[in-house]
Symmetry: C2
Subunit: 120 residues, 2 copies
Amino acid sequence: MILSHMEQYQSGLDGIFQALADPTRRAVIGRLGRGPASISELAEPFEMALPSFMKHIHVLERSGCIITRKDGRVRTCAIETAALAIVGDWLSAQRALWEGRTDRLEQFLAEATDPKETPR
Amino acid sequence: MILSHMEQYQSGLDGIFQALADPTRRAVIGRLGRGPASISELAEPFEMALPSFMKHIHVLERSGCIITRKDGRVRTCAIETAALAIVGDWLSAQRALWEGRTDRLEQFLAEATDPKETPR
């Protein structure tokens, strides 16, 4: 199946939002915001079996929110800020819509109260 | 079950991110960014049975991303910008962590290259 750019973008956003919809995964992102860490460092604060914790790591990695690298026997994780920037851009686009609406509303009200204004 | 403020906040974020992890629901948010709309107006662009579309509306409503109101026989939906502001705040907090890390790194490097600096 070949996906269009828009389908790839939408599917990427689905995965990123899905990855962020869990408190453990958000906590991992928060920890990695302070710098790269090994899987065992990341797992330490959570009362969770390692296989369950690894599922969260895989969801984060598949979504592109983190990258992992194996150095010998230690897997190190780092945050991928580009994925969170995509969320930031999406939010900014939504905000631009509401603000555009407010501008148009103000313009509409200004024109409605100006009796010299006639339709063209 | 009584949830702490932090648990309520985390569970609220789970619901908001979950609500945003779907292209139909994001498109509804985008449409409502231009102003309130009825369910039938919102459903019109999607090739989807009404019960399936209503599931998306309920997910958005439960998460707090939209509010709905029944006027006679018409249900009108409006965006709740506060929910998206919570996502924006979370993203800003993450960004502050990375930026803090960069600042600390610069400070560390500056101290390391200053031979007059001694440990206290």
